[in-house]
C-alpha cells in the first residue's frame, strides 16, 4: 500500500463539505436565461434541423482547454488553494467542472435545454471563481452583439 499523504484527508473532507448552497444567482445570466432564444426554438422558426447549435463544439473546446493546457501541462486538478502558481490557478479540471455544472443546473438552469444550460453553468462557474466578473462579461457581450449585428 502506497503511503497516503495526510494532507489528502483534509482535502477530501473539504471537498465533501463543499457545496454550492452559498452560490447566488448571477443577474446577467438570469437575464440571458429569460431573454435568450434557445436553439430548438430558432430551428423551428427557421426550418433548420441541425440538432446542435453551431457553437456547441466551440463551447466543448473551451471546456477542454480549461481542463489544462493540452500542450503545456497535464491533468492539473489540485484544489484552488493548493495551486502554487498563477498559471495553475487558471485550470478548471473536468471532474470539478462537471460537478459544478450538475449542481448549478439543478439549482438555476433546470428549465433550460442542453447545451444552453452547459454554457450558463460554465459562465456561472468562471464568475464564481473570479476568472472574470459579471460587469466585464456584460460589457463584452454588448460589444460582441454590436459587432455581429453591424456586419
Amino acid at each position: 500500500m502506497a503511503e497516503i499523504n495526510p494532507k489528502y484527508f483534509e482535502l477530501d473532507k473539504e471537498m465533501r463539505d463543499r457545496d454550492l448552497d452559498e452560490s447566488t444567482p448571477v443577474s446577467l445570466l438570469e437575464d440571458v436565461k429569460g431573454k435568450g432564444r434557445v436553439w430548438d426554438d430558432l430551428c423551428e422558426q427557421y426550418g433548420v434541423d441541425n440538432p446542435d447549435p453551431p457553437w456547441r463544439i466551440t463551447l466543448e473546446a473551451t471546456c477542454d482547454m480549461l481542463a489544462g493546457g493540452y500542450w503545456e501541462t497535464f491533468n492539473v486538478c489540485k484544489p484552488k488553494e493548493e495551486r502554487d502558481s498563477e498559471e495553475e490557478q487558471k485550470h478548471l479540471d473536468a471532474v470539478e467542472r462537471r460537478w459544478e455544472e450538475d449542481q448549478l443546473v439543478n439549482k438555476y438552469y433546470d428549465e433550460v435545454p442542453f447545451p444552453e444550460r452547459q454554457l450558463l453553468a460554465l459562465a456561472h462557474t468562471l464568475i464564481r471563481r473570479g476568472l472574470f466578473d459579471e460587469e466585464e462579461l456584460a460589457r463584452r457581450m454588448e460589444e460582441i452583439d454590436r459587432r455581429l449585428n453591424s456586419a
Partner: protein, 231 residues
C-alpha cells in the same frame, strides 16, 4: 439542376446564447487561460469527429472474423483500419485528460449484452464516436444505469430477455469503450456500407441494438436527476 442547389435553411438571428459563448471564450483567451490558436486547432479537430468510424469498425468485424479478433484484442490497432489513430490524430499526439488512448471493444453475444456509462463524469470515446449525447451526460443515466440497468434500457425501448446477462461497463479510468453488437438477422449478404448504416451511435453505446431499416437514433427524453438509494 439549379433548383437542387437552393441554399439550406439557416438560422438568421444571433441569440443571446451565441453571444455569451463568444464572450466567455474571448475573455478566457484574454485572461491567458488558453490561447486562441490552441482553441482553434482543438475545435477543428473536434469538428472532424463523429460516430461513423465506430460504425464501420463494427461492420468490418461482422464481415471479417480475423478483424473482429483484432478489434476485441486491440481496439486502438483496429481503429487504424477505419481511419482513426488514437495517438496521432489528436492535435496533442498523445491523448488528453479525457481522451486516453485505450479503446476496448466489448463483444456482445446472444447471451451477453453490454452497455456503457461513466458514473463519475461522462467519459466517452470521442475520437471514434464524436460528442456524447445529452442523456449520456445526465446524472439520471449515470446514477441509475449501474443500479437498475434493465429498467433504464427498457426506457430506451430495449427489453433484454431474462436469460441474457446485462453487463454495464462503468468507464472510470483510461479505457474508452464501444459495444460490438450481435449482427442482426435479415442482413445476410449485406455490404460493409449497408451494415455500417444500421450501427447507430446508440447501438455503439449499447442502449439499442441494430435492426435492418433502422439508421437513426430515437429521440431520447431527458429526465431530471433522482436521488439514488445510498449504498
Amino acid at each position: 439542376m439549379a433548383e437542387k442547389h437552393k441554399p439550406a435553411p439557416m438560422v438568421d438571428e444571433v441569440s443571446e446564447f451565441e453571444v455569451l459563448e463568444i464572450a466567455v471564450r474571448e475573455l478566457a483567451i484574454e485572461k491567458g487561460l488558453f490561447t486562441a490558436e490552441d482553441h482553434q486547432r482543438w475545435t477543428e479537430y473536434m469538428h472532424t469527429l463523429g460516430p461513423l468510424p465506430a460504425a464501420r469498425l463494427v461492420a468490418k468485424a461482422w464481415l471479417d472474423p480475423e478483424f473482429k479478433k483484432l478489434a476485441v484484442e486491440d481496439g486502438v490497432k483496429a481503429s487504424l483500419e477505419v481511419g482513426i489513430d488514437w495517438v496521432n490524430s489528436m492535435p496533442t499526439h498523445f491523448g488528453t485528460p479525457s481522451d486516453y488512448c485505450n479503446l476496448r471493444v466489448l463483444e456482445d453475444t446472444p447471451k451477453l449484452k453490454h452497455v456503457v456509462v461513466c458514473t463519475l463524469c461522462s467519459c466517452y470515446p470521442r475520437p471514434i464516436l464524436g460528442q456524447s449525447p445529452e442523456w449520456y451526460r445526465t446524472p439520471n443515466y449515470r446514477r441509475r444505469l449501474v443500479r437498475w440497468p434493465r429498467q433504464v434500457l427498457a426506457e430506451f425501448g430495449l427489453q433484454v430477455p431474462e436469460d441474457v446477462e446485462v453487463r454495464v461497463e462503468d468507464s472510470n479510468q483510461k479505457s474508452r469503450f464501444i459495444v460490438l453488437p450481435v449482427r442482426p438477422e435479415g442482413t445476410e449478404g449485406w455490404s460493409e456500407d449497408q451494415l455500417a448504416e444500421i450501427v447507430t451511435r446508440d447501438c455503439l453505446i449499447g442502449v439499442a441494438v441494430p435492426k435492418p431499416g433502422k439508421t437513426a437514433n430515437d429521440p431520447r427524453p431527458v429526465r431530471p436527476a433522482v436521488n439514488p438509494y445510498h449504498h
